[in-house]
């Protein structure tokens, strides 16, 4: 592992020199702060947080998870500022908007705090002086989903977006529709309400009534998948209209098992929470670094074949 | 002497650093009209708000029929039979006349879960009570906020008279009323007294206060100058009290100074004389006729 350092170029070697003083800190004194753009109430990020907490326990370090209460990158940059001012031993961030968050992250790097980025921001991680990026870009995940759905023969799909304007969700949708267009299919975006499953269901039903040629639905998360499934069930179109989703939940997996949902795109976001804490701990105690600039956690696809295996894990909130 | 209906002893009231009332004692007995007199800002409204449970006294005691009470809301005072016409009337502008009239004491019909607000009855009573006061409303569903000042005041008075059981408190009830309506209110007060109620009456009009009052309590700048029975005080003294203890003469001088002709002011004097005679004449007539 030490050999990796040499390959890592100037960035990581400067990090090494800055933090060498703390090379042998006791684990129980380590404090890492995670700042992401995903609220603890978001099912996707809930799994990330679970990974963070578990890694903290396993490594015997102190972890704190913070996120803004709305998708507002200026608010998130202030959270990073505060985290930096509290002088943690390491920082984990997601970077959905490099313009907005870049300066704050650079401040952390300049203060000698090792930073790992997760989920979004793989393209800017290196430039900002980040140790390593853990995760996968939303666009690629969407693209992968689009390819699959295209293969399933869908010609006109709806992208069900529970928060129009949210850059991460928009990137998923964009990747999905780019891949679909390549396969010769058409994609419309349908906005639904993340706080009201009934309204979401009724809206999907209305859309399916008014555009009868739709034959595929791509939900951007379980929040959209549950009402989409309910809509298909109430219109007796399960199977007839193909449904796929991002991210997992026990209900989604049950439906996959039954064949009601075609597949789910799994970023294994648990890893995005767990790994950075492990990496930071090792960096702090053992000066280990990773050679690759990006650790890919996805995209994985959960289908009827492998749904059974993860269903219990999802029940525990780790998948 | 029988126990007074209501009585306050050494009551004071402070608002922040403002002393609105300072060591006031007074009482009202059954079948008596107590006139509360005093200049603007003397503390009359504050005192009656203590009596009606709106304010709690900062110091002192409040007794109803000899027993000390601590009203924490006007509802308590009302249920003890004390009805009040507030100077600001306590009306809900957006509500209809009849709903305002019965607010807090709605007539119902039916029983159990079907017990309901008797709208027809409320409308009828409201219309009748107002008609008795000489106010003929177009529509009892009209919002009170669109009534004229006098109409609004009449509704408040009619309500208090209708619900008053033991004590009736009237804070400048005739301020916005026409000559005729004011007369009716005076008649109401006399009626209430005849029925054995205690009445507290606040007014700035000596022509209203003196004929109807049995006792007079004088407030000045938050302090009491004592209570006087009608036998003890003359009309001029009452007027003097109402002006906060100042001589009225200075005033007449000033008024006279600006009158443009002597004849005009002479006329003022003449007409006042006439009014006096007219009232006397009325008395004699009524004696002859026996009843209305």
């Amino acid at each position: 592992a030490c050999g990796g350092q040499a390959n890592n170029g100037t960035t990581s070697s400067s990090n090494t020199t800055q933090s060498s003083s703390s090379g042998n800190t006791a684990r129980s004194n380590l404090r890492f702060v995670v700042v992401t753009h995903g609220q603890a109430s978001d099912p996707f990020w809930s799994v990330v947080k679970k990974g963070v907490d578990q890694a903290g326990k396993d490594m015997g370090v102190k972890v704190e998870y913070q996120s803004p209460d709305k998708f507002d990158m200026t608010a998130m940059s202030h959270l990073i500022d505060a985290a930096v001012a509290s002088k943690p031993d390491g920082l984990v961030v997601s970077i959905p908007d490099a313009n907005a968050l870049g300066p704050s992250i650079q401040k952390a790097v300049a203060a000698g705090i090792p930073v790992i980025s997760i989920n979004s921001g793989s393209d800017v991680a290196k430039k900002l002086g980040i140790l390593v990026h853990v995760g996968q870009t939303e666009y690629e995940a969407g693209y992968g989903g689009g390819e699959r759905m295209g293969q399933a023969g869908v010609k006109h799909a709806l992208c069900i977006n529970q928060e129009v304007g949210n850059a991460g969700l928009d990137a998923r949708c964009k990747g999905f529709s780019d891949a679909m267009q390549k396969a010769g299919a058409k994609v419309d975006v349908l906005a639904v309400n993340l706080a009201d499953p009934n309204e979401s269901q009724q809206r999907i039903q209305a859309k399916l009534t008014s555009t009868p040629d739709v034959d595929g639905l791509m939900a951007l998360g379980p929040t959209g998948a549950t009402p989409a499934l309910a809509a298909l069930r109430s219109m007796n179109k399960v199977g007839q209209i193909k449904l796929a989703t991002f991210d997992l939940s026990p209900e989604v997996l049950q439906a996959i098992k039954k064949g009601d949902i075609l597949f789910a795109i799994d970023q294994q976001q648990y890893l995005q929470g767990y790994l950075p804490i492990v990496l930071l701990t090792l960096y702090r105690t053992n000066l280990n670094t990773i050679a690759n600039p990006v650790l890919m956690t996805g995209p994985g696809f959960v289908t009827k074949d492998n749904a059974e295996q993860v269903i219990n894990l999802a029940q525990q909130g780790t998948r | 002497m029988s126990t007074p209906l209501i009585e306050v002893q050494h009551v004071s009231k402070y608002f922040g650093h403002v002393i609105a009332l300072n060591d006031i004692s007074m009482s009202v007995s059954a079948g008596e009209v107590m006139c509360l007199l005093g200049d603007n800002g003397a503390g009359k409204s504050t005192l009656i708000k203590i009596l009606s449970g709106v304010h709690q006294p900062s110091e002192g005691h409040y007794l109803v029929e000899g027993k000390e009470v601590h009203f924490t809301s006007p509802r308590h005072a009302l249920s003890a039979g004390i009805a009040t016409v507030y100077q600001d009337l306590a009306m809900i502008p957006l509500m209809s006349i009849s709903r305002n009239f019965f607010l807090g004491a709605e007539p119902t019909k039916g029983w159990g879960p079907l017990r309901r607000f008797n709208v027809a009855y409320a409308d009828r009573v409201t219309r009748e009570e107002l008609a008795k006061m000489g106010i003929h409303v177009r529509d009892t569903a009209q919002p009170v906020g669109t009534l004229s000042g006098g109409e609004r005041q009449s509704v408040a008075i009619a309500r208090a008279v209708y619900f008053g059981a033991k004590v009736l408190i009237l804070d400048e009830p005739t301020a916005a009323l026409g000559v005729k309506e004011a007369g009716i209110v005076l008649r109401y007060i006399a009626q209430a007294r005849a029925r054995g109620l205690g009445v507290i009456f606040i007014t700035h009009n000596p022509h209203h206060a003196y004929p109807i009052g049995d006792r007079f309590t004088l407030l000045n700048r938050g302090r009491s100058y004592g209570t006087f029975t009608k036998a003890e005080v003359s009309r001029e003294e009452i007027v003097e009290m109402m002006a906060g203890g100042e001589e009225l003469e200075t005033l007449s001088h000033e008024l006279a100074e600006f009158a443009r002709t002597d004849s005009q002011l002479a006329e003022v004097a003449r007409e006042l004389e006439q009014e006096a005679q007219e009232l006397q004449h009325g008395t004699q007539q009524s004696e002859k006729e026996g009843s209305l």
Binding site: R203, T226, A230, T318 | D88, D139
Partner: protein
């Protein structure tokens, strides 16, 4: 000089009023603007989206369903707002109570009716607390309930994650008592092939009840009183505290009912459920003709306010408006609906002979 005396005219015709078209005088009722708005919105979408399913029975069912869920809240909130108060915590109350039902029944295996009872008690307690705090401190309810909005949402998230490790919990359909609860809260009624959810019935029953209370009981009169001028109402002996606290409790109860309906329909819950519902409800109530400042309004109005809202939200989808422009369209429709509403009311009040 001669004066012709005009005697008082007791009950006969009054020369001080003009004759007025009875239809026009009807328009003075608070809800008439919203009724007119509903008709206008319906006609608009019938024209714009008529051939894409808006007019079908199943199209009608979708917007009625959306309206019903908003409407159940709006009726209670209408009474609360007529009484001069706000409750911003209903949104998070939905999330909390539906989570209570789901966790107790799906995680701990309680009978669903027992969980609902606990949720009801919880809702009433919070409603009481909201009201008590508002009246005790004299702070505006907008602020106090904003505080409880955050607290309830935060505790819901924290407790749910502590207990289940997730933010979405499902599996309510396996809990004991699910079938009877489903029949009462979530069974669809099929009319002409389209299935209308039973929540529409709940909505209308509650609205009828609220209208009765408001217009035909003493309590209703007190609601108008405390909303119109709380000081005046207190002075004439209205038990202000009792009235307002009851209203807060009823509002929380309505949120709990909606939570039960949603939890049982979707066999699970999400901590975010109900987010932003507080504002949508206030809009529906105000569109329905209730004054934001209290003292004036109607329960029926809120029914039509919710109906307009449901039609606009679903109509936009039928009309095929692009998701990007969805919010802009919603805003425009909302403004137009309120404008029409206020225009109708003004027209009614400015009638000439």
């Amino acid at each position: 000089m001669s004066i012709t005396t005009t005697g008082p005219q007791g009950t006969g015709k009054d020369e001080r009023v003009t004759k007025v078209n009875p239809l026009r005088s009807l328009l003075v009722r608070p809800e008439m603007g919203a009724i007119a708005g509903s008709i206008a919105v319906w006609i608009f979408f019938a024209i714009v989206a008529g051939n894409s399913g808006f007019l079908t029975l199943s199209g009608t069912a979708t917007y009625l369903s959306v309206s019903a869920e908003l409407g159940i809240l709006a009726v209670a909130v209408a009474l609360l707002m007529i009484g001069g108060e706000f409750d911003l915590s209903i949104g998070s109350m939905i999330g909390a109570t539906s989570m209570i039902i789901t966790i107790l029944s799906a995680q701990f295996g309680w009978n669903i009716w027992a969980s609902i009872l606990v949720a009801v008690v919880f809702a009433l307690a919070i409603g009481f607390l909201n009201g008590y705090l508002v009246l005790r401190t004299g702070l505006p309810s907008f602020i106090v309930t904003l505080g409880s909005l955050y607290i309830i949402r935060g505790v819901t998230i924290g407790v749910t994650r502590a207990l289940t490790g997730r933010t979405q919990v499902g599996g309510l359909d396996l809990a004991p008592g699910y079938d009877s609860a489903h029949a009462i809260f979530a069974s669809p009624i099929t009319i002409g092939g389209a299935s209308f959810p039973i929540e529409i019935v709940w909505w209308l029953v509650i609205a009828a009840l609220a209208t009765w209370v408001l217009l035909r009981t003493s309590f209703g009169n007190w609601i108008f009183g405390v909303g119109g001028d709380v000081q005046a109402a207190r002075n004439v002996g209205v038990p202000v505290k009792r009235v307002k606290i009851t209203l807060f409790m009823m509002t929380a109860l309505a949120a709990c009912l909606l939570a039960a309906i949603q939890a049982i329909t979707f066999t699970g819950s999400d901590v975010l459920r109900g987010q932003d519902n507080e504002f949508l409800t206030i809009i529906a109530v105000v569109v329905g003709g209730t004054l934001l400042t209290g003292g004036y309004g109607s329960a029926i109005g809120s029914v039509f306010g919710a109906l307009i809202f449901g039609m606009v939200r679903q109509g936009i989808v039928f009309a095929g408006v692009d998701a990007d422009w969805y919010q802009a369209f919603l805003g425009v429709m909302l403004l137009l609906a309120v404008l029409l509403n206020s225009y109708v009311r003004k027209y009614a009040l400015e009638v000439r002979r």
